[in-house]
Symmetry: C2
Subunit: 210 residues, 2 copies
Amino acid sequence: MTIHYPNGHQYHPRPSRLRHTNQLDSISHADRGMSLEQAVNESNQYYRARNKAVIHKKPTPIQIVDVSYPKRSAAVIREAYFQAASTTDYNGIYRGHYIDFDAKETTNKTSFPLANFHAHQIQHLRDCFQLGGICFALISFKPSNELFLLNGPDLFSAWDLQSQGGRKSIPKKQITQKGYALPYRFNPVIPYLDAVDKIIAAHKGEKNEF
Amino acid sequence: MTIHYPNGHQYHPRPSRLRHTNQLDSISHADRGMSLEQAVNESNQYYRARNKAVIHKKPTPIQIVDVSYPKRSAAVIREAYFQAASTTDYNGIYRGHYIDFDAKETTNKTSFPLANFHAHQIQHLRDCFQLGGICFALISFKPSNELFLLNGPDLFSAWDLQSQGGRKSIPKKQITQKGYALPYRFNPVIPYLDAVDKIIAAHKGEKNEF
């Protein structure tokens, strides 16, 4: 019998020896056949269902050129093109704070290439941060199935160094030190708000506005 | 000679007797040939350019069914459908606060029909408000060219009354009393953050989290 999750994804049972140990913590979204985007979306759904946070992925921007309106049925878009997003993919609210981030993955083993970001995405994160938002990147290293949250200021300084002729990637060692490791779980798959709690706590010590 | 704004819209000069009086304040976006959406987008652009706020319209969600990839040119979406949005149209950050709203217009003269909202949009605004966000509706009365900002709690109570068998619209008189009138200006076209300032000030008096 095939069991489906409510989201329509098939459920693939794991070997039972794994299912009762804490090794579950190390099963990544990739092992579960999920893309990083799916994993983030499921985590957001989990948080929303528990009234912890309201964070959504923005729809992909599309430029519509031609639409036909068949009788007695829905409008059909017949010609359209993908547009470059002017912002990041995710934003919303958590504990009264504006949250803004993007999720990126690399097949690189030892560093995260900054080319994964567009300049306007960094600018957007920076603008939101200046206005008091909590802005960050989720960075997935696919070869090792590791995921990190890198806070805005650390991302911005790496970006600025690059603009000044510095290295074009962030060493994984630096991400390990400055970022927050996110162990994969079941619920939510990516518990990134735990790391956001730490960012809020750290800022409370420094500033008034947080 | 035809003069174009940088946004590509044509500039239609107004009678000069108007251009040096404060009657400009009462020239609505509609008079200027703009849709409400365009007027809100231009206002957001104005606020972003001045680092006052980062607020964007979310792209329309589209379900893509078929994409063709012509050689040496961009991918073309050949079949796609409009999807119902699961959130409101606008969100972002202002003065450290999460901002979430929708803009609606009615041709009605004396009241705003609640049917302009979907239940899930109200729920979304309510969820964000519960988490500490500033959530509201921009309501445009087209016949009189009047625009109001109605704060979330006032919108929610009208919605709840309707669910309990109450009236299916909010009387304009009530919106005039409880909401914030937004006079049209040139820069920005819709100065809605002025009303948000008043909401923040009112909350500061009441609660700690604002």
